[in-house]
C-alpha cells in the first residue's frame, strides 16, 4: 500500500488524541509536567534545590512563546531541507 505508513501514523496520533479527550472529559487529571511531579516527590522528603534557574520565563505565555519558537526553528530547517531535496530531484 502506497500510503500505508502515513495512515498508520495518523491512526496512532488520532488514538492518542482520543484517549486524551476521553480522559479529560472524565476530568480528574491535572496535566501537569512530569518533572514538576518528580520535584514535588523530592521536596516532600525535605530536600531543597540548592540553586535556582538564573532566569525563568516570567509567565506561562512567555514560556509558550519560547517553546513555540524552538519548534518553529526546527520545523523551518526540516521543511527547507526536504523541499531542497524534492526540488533537486525534480530538476535532475
Amino acid at each position: 500500500m502506497k500510503h500505508g505508513m502515513e495512515i498508520a501514523v495518523a491512526a496512532i496520533i488520532i488514538i492518542f488524541a482520543g484517549v486524551f479527550l476521553f480522559q479529560d472529559a472524565a476530568g480528574d487529571k491535572s496535566w501537569e509536567g512530569a518533572d514538576g511531579e518528580a520535584a514535588e516527590l523530592i521536596e516532600a522528603s525535605g530536600y531543597e534545590p540548592w540553586i535556582e534557574p538564573f532566569w525563568e520565563p516570567p509567565s506561562g505565555e512567555i514560556e509558550s512563546l519560547l517553546f513555540a519558537l524552538q519548534a518553529a526553528i526546527g520545523a523551518v530547517i526540516i521543511g527547507y531541507v526536504f523541499g531542497y531535496w524534492q526540488a533537486g530531484k525534480k530538476t535532475a
Partner: protein, 230 residues
Amino acid sequence: MHIMEGFLPSPWWEIWFLVSLPFIVFGVYQLNRLVKERREALPLLAVAGAFVFVLSSLKLPSFTGSCSHPTGTGLGAVLFGPCITGVLGVIVLIFQAVFLAHGGITTLGANVFSMGIAGPVVAWLVYKAGTRAGANTYATVFAAAALADLFTYVVTSIQLALAFPGTTGFLGAFTAFAAIFAITQVPLAIIEGAVIALVFKYIVHLKPEILIRLNLLPESTIQRLKEAAA
C-alpha cells in the same frame, strides 16, 4: 522532561558531567570529521538536529494525567550514532535550560547523559541489530526511536533514585520516579517512533544515496523499499 535546576545535589551533578564528557568530546571529533569528509550529509545532520528541537519542545499529555515530551534523538542516533547525537542534545538542552528554565545548567550533565547519550546508544544498537537480522527497516527505526525515548526516562529515573534513595532505598525510589517519568513516556515513545519511522521513509525516497554512503542501508534494501512503496 529533564531534571530541574538544583535538583541534583553534589556529588551527583558533577559525576554526570564527568560521565557525559568523553562521549561529547568524541562526538565533537566525529562531527568535525563529518563536516570535512561528508559534506553531502550536512543537510541530513541539520534535519536530525532540527528533529530534536521540534520533538523536545512538544509537551504532550499522557494517559497518566501528566505531560512530558518526546526526545527526537532517535533519528540522529540511527543516522550518525550516539556521540554526534549527544552533541545535538547538548545544544537543545542548553537552549532549554537558558531560555526556558527547563532542565538546568547544573543538571545539564545528567540530562545530556539520559537524553543525548543513553537513549541514542539504545537506538543505535537496536538499529544495527535490526538491520543485521534483516528485519523490516521502518519497523526497526520505529523500535529504535521508541526505545531510545523510553530508555531516556528510565535513565532519568535511575539518576534521581541514585541521588534520592530516601527511606525506601534505590529500588523503591527508582520505582517511584519511573512511575512518574517512564510510565508517562510509553505513549509518547510510540508516537515518536512512528513519526521518526515516517521521516526515515521520506529520506529513503528523497536521498537514498546518503544512506548508502553513510553505510546505513545496502543498495538492495533501498531498492526493495522503493518498490514496496511504488
